[in-house]
Symmetry: C2
Subunit: 484 residues, 2 copies
């Protein structure tokens, strides 16, 4: 406890770092169940942080059920210490392309969305309470009145100029310096990725993509008649560059494009370092393979600053950067964008021929929100909330699921990846959970057939007693499946 926290290097909120020190001591066995932890004043002095920071850290550890406060006595390590889950181990997939098969499981999970009685832990919706709905609604109304004719007219590609200017302005935070003319507005991030794939590939081509990966992308690849070549990725550093290079060498000429979720990838939460991003861009540049970079979770870093994007290392227009406001502002507005580098013209044409334009009023409202609505302030507040909820749900999984379960500890976004004992079939868990009124995303849909069959993805965007109970139910069901 002698070291002080060096303010200059921290990448997470200070209170979270303080909390992680305590967690470390508990994990190492330095602090044991029933032990009294340093008083708030003591720790504040030791770590040279404010009283309030320590208070916040302890309050968080109480939420996580690691500490308990005893009146007039101080804070103690709880008696029933939850088993702290380790990071998931990602198994290496075969390095050859496979046709993605139409996935009935995928359809099942998506159909669950129509059932309002199910507790939705399957799909990565943001928490509605963390969306600035009323402010957006006001801006939707005021901007449509202000730009009366524009609001009902086509915003043909590249889309609303005001919005593109705001996005370009914000790109400085990601290490880019995009101009508004380099950006094309799309109807969400999925559309951006689809347009990119369609601009680059023809049926039969192979797409290099992380595994496990956001299931919609696999379905899109199948739908476009493409093949997926799965490249291992980790919950720490994202896509394995060694594996990618090896795969590119082995499949020379076949791989026509690579999709990477560079920041807080879905479902693992992996975050590529700047060095890795630069290396990735250079590697693909060398192979003349365009990179489709999905940065949809980049703004949801759990620390105060958002990470860079690989696009910031792109010198030749080989990177197509895709994102949207679906996770931070309003999924239902369907406003995303792509900075498509040397594919700009094809993307504009593709957008025009897909649906002419993205709806105008949502573009106007989001442009206004970015210009005057305090987007950075909004991000700061939702980042903290998601950081806290992801942590609490992770802890609860660790406590509720049978021994041997591992859970991701992402540094951004709001999904968790849970790897259960090899004997547990996630599809069985999905079916039994559904009977209990809970829907989850079984691991099978995050890859081609047969993989991740003992994994599930959970949406940790919301936290309340009902969800806590649901996690406990899932843990009980998993234990029962394991016992068989």
């Amino acid at each position: 406890m002698e070291t002080t926290l060096r303010m200059t290097e921290r990448s997470m909120p200070l209170y979270a770092e303080v909390a992680s020190r305590i967690v470390y001591l508990i994990e190492q066995g330095t602090l044991r169940p029933g032990d009294r932890v340093p008083s708030i004043r003591e720790l504040s002095r030791q770590l040279q942080v404010s009283i309030n920071t320590v208070k916040e850290a302890y309050s968080q550890l109480e939420d996580r059920r690691l500490l308990e406060a005893r009146p007039q006595s101080g804070y103690y390590v709880r008696a029933h210490l939850p088993e702290l889950p380790a990071e998931p181990v990602v198994r290496k997939p075969a390095l050859k392309p496979t046709e993605v098969n139409l996935c009935d499981v995928y359809q099942m999970v998506m159909n669950d969305l129509h059932d309002p009685d199910l507790l939705q832990l399957g799909v990565a919706f943001p928490n509605p309470d963390l969306l600035p709905i009323d402010k957006l609604n006001r801006m939707l109304a005021s901007e449509s009145r202000r730009f009366r004719v524009q609001s009902v007219s086509y915003e043909i590609p590249p889309g609303c100029e005001r919005l593109r200017k705001q996005i370009a302005r914000r790109s400085l935070q990601t290490g880019c310096a995009l101009s508004p003319d380099e950006i094309v507005i799309t109807s969400g991030c999925v559309e951006a990725v689809v347009l990119a794939l369609r601009a680059i590939c023809k049926p039969g081509d192979t797409v290099a993509i992380e595994t496990p990966v956001y299931f919609n992308f696999l379905q899109v690849i199948e739908d476009l008649g493409l093949k997926a070549l799965e490249i291992p990725t980790s919950a720490q550093g994202g896509i394995s560059l060694d594996a990618l290079e090896y795969a590119l060498e082995k499949n020379a000429g076949q791989v026509k494009v690579c999709i990477v979720l560079s920041n807080f990838n879905n479902p693992l939460g992996g975050l590529m370092s700047d060095a890795a991003k630069r290396q990735l861009v250079e590697l693909l540049e060398r192979y003349q393979i365009p990179l489709i970079e999905d940065d949809i979770y980049g703004d949801l870093s759990h620390s105060d600053n958002r990470p860079s994007v690989a696009k910031s290392f792109d010198k030749t227009g080989n990177v197509l950067l895709c994102s949207s406001f679906s996770k931070t502002l309003a999924p239902g507005y369907r406003v995303g964008w792509i900075a498509a580098g040397r594919f700009q013209k094809q993307i504009e044409r593709g957008k025009l021929l897909s649906n002419v334009a993205t709806a105008s009023p949502p573009q106007l409202a989001i442009a206004e929100f970015l210009a005057t609505g305090g987007y950075d302030h909004h991000l700061r507040s939702i980042r903290r909330a998601y950081a806290r909820q992801v942590m609490i749900m992770g802890d609860t999984v660790g406590r509720a699921f049978p021994a041997g379960t591992r859970v991701s500890r992402p540094k951004g976004g709001f999904v968790l990846w849970v790897e259960m004992a090899a004997e547990i079939d996630a599809l069985k868990l999905y079916e039994q959970a559904r009977e209990e009124g809970i829907t989850i995303a079984p691991g099978q849909i995050f890859s081609l057939e047969g993989k991740y069959r003992n994994c599930i993805r959970l949406n940790a965007a919301c936290w309340n007693p009902r969800i806590e109970m649901a996690i406990e139910t899932l843990g009980r069901l998993a234990a029962r499946l394991l016992a068989r």
Copy 2:
């Protein structure tokens, strides 16, 4: 003048029928330049219609420069009678499939949309003054407040239920009885057609389509790696069923789908009869070829009632009916729909994988407009306005363009097809017009290479002195091109 107008059978507004009687008498030479026409009171008695109806008819004929009022004397046939243009003759195309080539001309015409200084006669935008912008804006605001969370959430396929119910209710007017569950909301009609093509075809397949046809569809066909088989269509009855049957026989097995614009097809304005629609549905059913029916202009009939759709004769789910609110309410809202028959599930999946969903606030606003906004009343008023403007622009073309020019006389929609003397190259006219600040749609983009090179399409949605001057300029340029 002895016959009275039989109110029961009329399909256009009464005043328009009265006007057409006078036009007929002028065309037949019964009334000659300088002749005095019956007084308002006289004609009202003769035709057994109200004074106001005759007044409206005469006022329209004045607008069309066929009559002139002389103070204290009455109405006279104008001295310089405009040459009344005939219907265009549609030349028969070769009955074999051709690859659609990427069309630079198309890109040029679309790029013109970014130039606010050009008078836009090229693209089929509706008249902003005929869109209920303020009412829609109010509904956009009120509905987003009312459905607070829904307005920012995904309306995953099939889309907003409230909107689908309203569309289903309205389908009775088209001879269908769709249920809300048969409808999928799309981001406009183009997206509906694209989803339909992608659900049915794979690259290399052939699409039977009318010629000339809405240029975006040809670009879409090219973009999807499909081939177009052009089937003659006319400005009267739409697609030639004889030619279609002949083509299907000759290309057995190659044609995988047929696209037909059944009502007021773009660009010719042709309208299929109920009998023809039934025959078309039966023919394609026999060949087991799905029909993609585009009814986007159906609500813009110039008469009081809208025509049926081919879908109403569909007994097996073989017809995919596509439409949108882009021509009647708000192009920029990007709200369209498809009733996809036996392809429903594929379309839902395709929509999900294209962009997850259509934006929610526009869906809510249009649902409310259909439920309470007086859509039928709105349609009645814009139908009259478009009928009048299409007529006036047609007359002006007839007067301004050199002899030999033919112009369509559509019974719905708001575009005109102008066939000039064979010597005139529409692309040259396009280029020269652009230098005068006017953009038009040259005939070349309505077909594969080389066809309709002496034709242009004009947007007749707006009428004002600037547009009148532009038509006169176009006529003068055409005359000059002809003289060379």
